[in-house]
Amino acid sequence: MTALVDAGLAPYDVEVVRADFPVLARTVSGHPLVYLDNASSSQKPRQVLDAEREFVEQHYSNVHRGVHTLSQEATDAYEAARTTVATFLGASDPHEVVFTKNATEAYNLVAYSFGNAAAGSRFSVGPGDEVCVTEMEHHSNLVPWQMLCERTGATLRWIPLTDDGRLDLTDLDTLVNERTKVLAFVHVSNILGTENPVDVLVARAREVGAFTLLDGAQSAPHQVVDVQRLGVDFFVLTGHKMLAPSGVGVLWGRKELLDAMPPFLGGGSMIEVVQMSGSTYAPAPERFEAGTPVISQAVALAAACDYLSALGLDRVAAHEQALTGRLLDGLHALDGVSVIGPATTESRGAAVSFAIEGVHPHDIGQSLDELGIAVRVGHHCAAPVCRRYGVPATTRASSYLYNTAGEVDALLEGIATVQRFWRR
């Protein structure tokens, strides 16, 4: 906080932020809602919903192909959204931003596009080639690569984990090697909270000429991202985790790559010349946006970027780090509770997985819900991580910009209550 005040910024006023989110006024099971399921999806502020609604009520039409006023206005709004997202990500060119329906589509887009490349092309993947991921990937950045390898005969490799929830880079040089076509990895893990050393991994990928794809689903909502500084080839985010509605994600890719990659989804708007006997394709981003795009969702995502930028992602990150530290300290202080993932706030995000001895995560989640506290239980779409740490599932609390220290304390008390109930 001192640093922020020193920098001339008003102190972060979480109550002002909370007032923008109608759902936070709700009660659940007779208790005020404590929403700590943000790694799964965030709530949406009025500003984002209002921006989308104003657009739909006054300027809506299909985009790109019309000369009439509404279609011009809709196209302008949609393309302005692209520019806003590009700026938000530090991209040099708005044409590097492809709108998808979620992050999952984006990984599949790259995997299928590579799979569609003619043998001998720089993108083609085949027997003898390798794709490398990590053992902490979300299923969405794992299964598309498994499927690609299955289709093409390539080999999938993965970087294993250490006991304290970090990447074990001992064998990095073997796992990422001259045969590696793609290194796809998560920026911040949704289950462990771990923030990975992008620089180390990118440096190794560059040495061997592998393409890099960074899964930013859990980083873009929480910290300043600069795709150029990160040095990756592709970066993926998903709108619904960063204040935007469901139904919109982003693939950022270097323009030079996007323009050269084979198409993925075929259809309207991604084409140049269509004859019955065959078609040619438009340059990026149109090439990868087949059909009517996610128009009003992109407009809403831009409003979410504006909201985050206005608040200041540095301040958001500082606020969240304080909450995460408080939660970690509290969990460490409880008997019979263990954290799965990094123990401190050092290089970690706001998602904190934990286990309570003798109580199953389902029962923890249900019992906390009875106290109004929303956490997520399960494998969090990262089943291999659960297997790695020998648990069937975890309980995960993940805070965001509208959470308070009081809510963290409520969770900690809730856990104590759960322990009392289930240990009777």
């Binding site: 249900q366 399960g378 494998h379 599932a393 109930f421």
Partner: protein, 151 residues
């Protein structure tokens, strides 16, 4: 803190003191079922003799709902004719799919009626069914094997 409708005392009792737990011999068929969304799993053995479920034994890990419902299940099927036990299992399935709209029949489901509230929590229905589905699978296999042998 307990929501009365979900964590009934009966459920908690069965969870804390499960009936018939532990894998036993002799048995005809052993199955292993998993609930992929939460990692719960059960290994279950069935012995069928003369058209009667003569024993069911099991081991596994899971939440209170899945553990308790497996325990209740063993009470309801052991010693019963296969046909009758299958009908009980259908009744339990119907209750679970009722979203709180069905009044359970205590004569049929006994302690199983405590799970009526679970049907209002769709995310937990699969937990309550894990042991039942494993039993049904194993029993069907056992019956098929024995009738196959008789043929």
């Amino acid at each position: 803190m307990a929501d009365e409708s979900l964590y009934q005392e009966i459920i908690l009792d069965h969870y804390r003191n499960p009936h018939h737990k532990g894998l036993r011999d002799p048995y005809d068929v052993e199955v292993h079922h998993v609930n992929p969304t939460c990692g719960d799993e059960v290994t279950l053995r069935v012995r069928v003799a003369d058209g009667v479920v003569s024993d069911v034994s099991y081991d596994g890990q899971g939440c209170s709902i899945s553990q308790a419902s497996t325990s209740v299940m063993t009470d309801l099927v052991i010693g019963r004719a296969v046909d009758e036990a299958m009908k009980t299992s259908e009744a339990f399935l119907a209750l679970m799919q009722s979203r709180g709209q069905l009044e359970p029949d205590e004569d049929v489901l006994e302690d199983g009626i405590a799970f009526a509230g679970v049907s209002r929590y769709p995310a937990r229905v699969k937990c309550a069914l894990l042991g039942w589905m494993a039993w049904k699978d194993a029993t069907a296999q056992a019956v098929a094997a024995s009738s196959g042998g008789a043929a």
